[in-house]
């Protein structure tokens, strides 16, 4: 390792403390030109914090950072950018009120005599997105795009800068296989140009596909730096969680009784339910104790189906019956009254209340269902909250911390916990494992299986087809906002078959 080229970026003895939490202690890190370097660790290990300290979002408490051998200390992302470090932070950090094109180019719009050339802006933005093989209307406001598209826009913004260092903090958490492949192609090209790339992801397959080298963090401390080729997956996980991992694979083979699920009572039946411009009318039945997976590509309408079933959007056609009786869901509130819960994919905009504590965020839905006059007794609160902090391994395990101070993955767990304690009859999970580490992901999958065994109906949406296959009794396939197929998850169903169905649009 010593004959490696001089690192372009080097961090030594980095310490960072937040009130009550030591996020980083004495971390060393180096990034070589022309490599893809993965930063690994469990949720809350300190990956994002390291990145934010590096780019000047947070001030360092101790340690030094050198860029090209010269010590640097950035006053903020602007300064870091000017020094050639381009970053996509973990949450999508764009301006929803601006157009897609502006989000990509703001701050470096092409100008003539100080006047922004809007035509040129749109042309360049469209070109950049085309390089990622994304075809969106660049003058549409960003808020009208799905989270995945927003993520791609953020990536497009970052790769446009002719930077020397590119940092990507969980860029793939809401992308599906196609987009990930697209992103990797761009990353390989940049790497060939000698750009150093720092990459964070919880998908081990992706790491092994793209990364040359990795640095592992645990509880804010450095575990070590390894060549990807020299460290096996099992070892890697062991180093991340600090102990041997045994039962990760067990779920894969858990037997599923598809027929039994079909035989039980139907809980929610959608007949030609639809909403013009969002999803074509679809017919779908979810039985008690059944897990229904939804598969489809970015923007194919999975989220829209979930929103219609939850009453977050109004269905304009078709009908829905819940537990045998026809209902019209005008508001989410009506849906929760019928025992339906919806865990949104966009935890920042549609999920968490950032200023409230972990405890308050967790009990929010349950409290809303009970109404304000019947507060949940403190003891019950503590029991519920402690149980799920424990079960989902929410770190730090402090229920009174504002949820905005949690790491991304832990925030996702909080959101999940909110809906689990409600004990709904139908649980709609839209990308519930987004940004969650391997250990916790297995835990969540186990929980889903447990809940459905206990009679809960689950609608499970995930960009990760393996995960969908692992959990569902049947899978609905979407394409172009149309439900094109409904496949029972028997032995013949594989990710390959699913991909094919998506590509062919169900006409096989």
């Amino acid at each position: 390792m010593d004959d490696a080229p001089a690192p372009i970026l080097r961090m030594r003895g980095i310490c960072k403390e937040f009130p009550g939490v030591r996020a980083l202690s004495d971390v060393d890190f180096r990034l070589l030109p022309g490599e893809v370097h993965a930063l690994m660790g469990e949720n809350g290990a300190g990956k994002s914090t390291l990145i934010k300290v590096l780019t000047g979002v947070h001030a360092v408490d101790g340690g030094e950072i050198t860029l090209d051998g010269a010590p640097v200390s950035f006053s903020g992302p602007l300064a870091a950018q000017q020094a050639g470090i381009s970053t996509v932070y973990q949450e999508v950090n764009l301006c929803p009120n601006l157009s897609v094109a502006e989000n990509i180019l703001i701050g470096r719009e092409p100008r003539r005599l100080g006047r922004i050339r809007w035509k040129e802006v749109r042309r360049r933005a469209a070109g950049l997105l085309a390089r990622l093989e994304l075809d969106v209307d660049v003058s549409a406001p960003l808020s009208s795009c799905s989270l995945a598209v927003q993520q791609m826009v953020a990536i497009a913004r970052a790769v446009d800068v002719s930077a020397r260092v590119l940092i990507l903090d969980e860029p793939t958490s809401s992308l599906d296989a196609g987009e990930v492949e697209q992103l990797f192609r761009v990353m390989r090209r940049l790497k060939a140009e000698g750009i150093a790339i720092l990459f964070v992801s919880h998908f081990l397959d992706q790491i092994y596909e793209i990364a040359d080298r990795m640095t592992i963090l645990r509880d804010g401390r450095l575990v070590g730096e390894y060549l990807t080729s020299e460290l096996g997956q099992v070892e890697l996980v062991g180093k991340m969680i600090g102990k041997e991992l045994k039962d990760l694979e067990t779920l894969e083979n858990a037997p599923k009784d598809i027929a039994a699920a079909e035989r039980s009572r139907p809980f929610a039946e959608a007949r030609s339910l639809g909403r013009p411009g969002s999803v074509e009318p679809f017919t779908l039945t979810i039985h008690e104790g059944e897990v229904v997976g939804l598969a489809g590509l970015l923007g194919s309408g999975r989220t829209e189906i979930a929103r219609l079933l939850f009453g977050a959007d109004h269905a304009t056609t078709g009908e829905l019956s819940v537990g045998g009786t026809p209902v019209t869901l005008r508001t989410p509130r009506a849906a929760t009254n019928h025992g339906i819960a919806f865990c949104s994919e966009n935890r920042r905009a549609e999920g968490l209340i950032p200023d409230l504590s972990v405890r308050e965020n967790i009990i929010l839905a349950l409290q809303a269902a009970r109404g304000w006059a019947r507060p949940i007794p403190r003891r019950t609160q503590d029991e519920l909250v402690d149980k799920y902090i424990d079960a989902l391994k929410i770190r730090p395990a402090d229920p009174d911390r504002p949820v905005k101070n949690l790491s991304g993955g832990n925030q996702q767990k909080v959101l999940l916990a909110r809906w689990l304690i409600v004990e709904p009859k139908l649980l709609i999970l839209d990308e519930p494992t987004r940004g969650i580490d391997v250990g916790a992901k297995a835990e969540i999958q186990r929980l889903v299986v447990e809940l459905s065994d206990g009679g809960m109906a689950v609608l499970f949406i995930s960009a990760e087809l393996e995960e969908v296959l692992r959990l569902s009794h049947k899978v609905g396939v979407l394409r172009d906002r149309r439900l094109v197929a409904e496949l029972p998850n028997d032995d013949h169903l594989t990710t390959g078959v699913l991909m094919e169905t998506i590509a062919s649009g169900g006409r096989s």
């Binding site: 979002v57 903020g76 992302p77 602007l78 870091a80 950018q81 970053t87 932070y89 950090n93 764009l94 301006c95 929803p96 009120n97 601006l98 502006e102 989000n103 703001i106 701050g107 719009e109 100008r111 100080g114 006047r115 922004i116 093989e133 994304l134 075809d135 969106v136 209307d137 003058s139 549409a140 406001p141 009208s144 795009c145 799905s146 995945a148 598209v149 913004r157 296989a177 196609g178 987009e179 492949e181 697209q182 411009g277 590509l297 970015l298 923007g299 194919s300 394409r479 172009d480 906002r481 998506i502 590509a503």
Partner: protein, 331 residues
């Protein structure tokens, strides 16, 4: 994965036009209001009435322009009315009591206003204090300074200044405009250009959309936020100069509560108080709405003071309600 499977383009053709809908609705209602006034009152339906609305609200227009910048970033500036008063006061004292020439006075006044805005912007940004409270303190400060200068009203008799103030720019059809209106319209055009064609302007929108994102996107948040309050300070001072042209005097109680008028104009114009969305054209319409309401009130002519207030409230209510209902219906 072939690209034909990727579908992400949303039908955004409609959405582009929808963005201007609130402004269009406001403009439509304004015309309707004018028509109703014309039918109801004699001598109302004349071009000069429209021009008078501009003449009588030139200063408010300038204030509202500055306020638009601030509100677009999600902030608020309560000091504008007091800065107007301070500016009239400084203008009047310097010219009347100390014999300064307008050429020296006006730049100084503009400088004072900008400096005050700059100071407030710095406090807001660097010390992370809510704009409401900082600018409220700024309001107390500016108003307080007025009284320290003097509690009486001071007439302005300087010849050039008076001449400029009383210049009537003739238009065809026996109509005329004041110098203040020309200045105000120039400010509006310049500001609209800034907001839509310069980086500063776009950064203003970005910060209003999400300050945190703007920061992480590497935009100059500090500079922009401070600039916005400086612009507002400058506009208030310029508004003060226009006000002193309008009244040819300085007085510490001038423009009492005008910050609310400015905020109201901006918000009626469709700008969101949470920031990030709105147009300068909307603000102009907002000012015209307020001005036209005032004109209708004085044409009505039989209202006792309390009925005046109730009537203003009612007109405002009907206007806002229609504006809202029509916009919702359409989109």
């Amino acid at each position: 994965m072939s690209s034909d499977v990727l579908t992400a383009g949303r039908s955004a053709v409609l959405r582009g036009r929808q963005r201007y809908l609130p402004v269009l609705v406001t403009a439509g209602l304004l015309v309707a209001m004018f028509t109703v006034g014309g039918l109801r009152y004699e001598a109302f339906a004349s071009g000069q009435i429209v021009l008078n609305v501009f003449i009588d609200n030139a200063f408010l227009l300038v204030l509202a322009v500055g306020m638009t910048f601030v509100i677009l970033t999600g902030g608020i500036d309560l000091s504008v009315g007091a800065v107007v008063a301070l500016s009239t006061m400084v203008t009047a004292t310097l010219m009347t009591d100390h014999g300064w020439s307008p050429l020296a006075t006006v730049p100084l006044v503009l400088l004072i206003g900008s400096a005050l805005g700059l100071a407030m912007g710095c406090v807001i940004h660097y010390f992370d204090i809510q704009p409401f409270i900082v600018t409220l303190a700024g309001m107390f400060l500016a108003r307080g300074l007025c009284y320290v200068i003097g509690t009486d009203s001071i007439p302005i008799t300087e010849e050039t200044y008076t001449a400029v103030a009383q210049t009537q720019i003739s238009l065809p059809g026996e109509m005329h405009l004041s110098v203040g209106v020309v200045i105000a319209l120039a400010v509006v055009l310049f500001a609209a250009y800034m907001l839509h064609y310069t980086r500063l302007g776009r950064n203003v929108y970005a910060i209003g959309g999400s300050e945190q994102s703007a920061l992480l996107m590497g935009l100059p948040v500090a500079r922009t936020k401070i600039a916005v309050y400086t612009i507002s300070g400058f506009c208030s001072a310029l508004g003060g100069v226009l006000f002193s042209l309008y009244t040819l005097s300085g007085y510490g109680l001038n423009a009492l509560g005008m910050e609310l008028d400015a905020i109201a104009a901006v918000v009626i114009g469709g700008t969101l108080l949470t920031g990030g969305s709105g147009y300068l054209l909307g603000t102009v319409l907002g000012v015209l709405v307020l001005g036209l309401i005032q004109t209708i009130i004085s044409f009505e002519g039989t209202l006792s003071p309390w009925w005046t207030r109730i009537f203003i409230g009612l007109l405002l209510f009907v206007f806002i309600l229609l504006q809202r209902l029509i916009s919702v219906r359409r989109s």
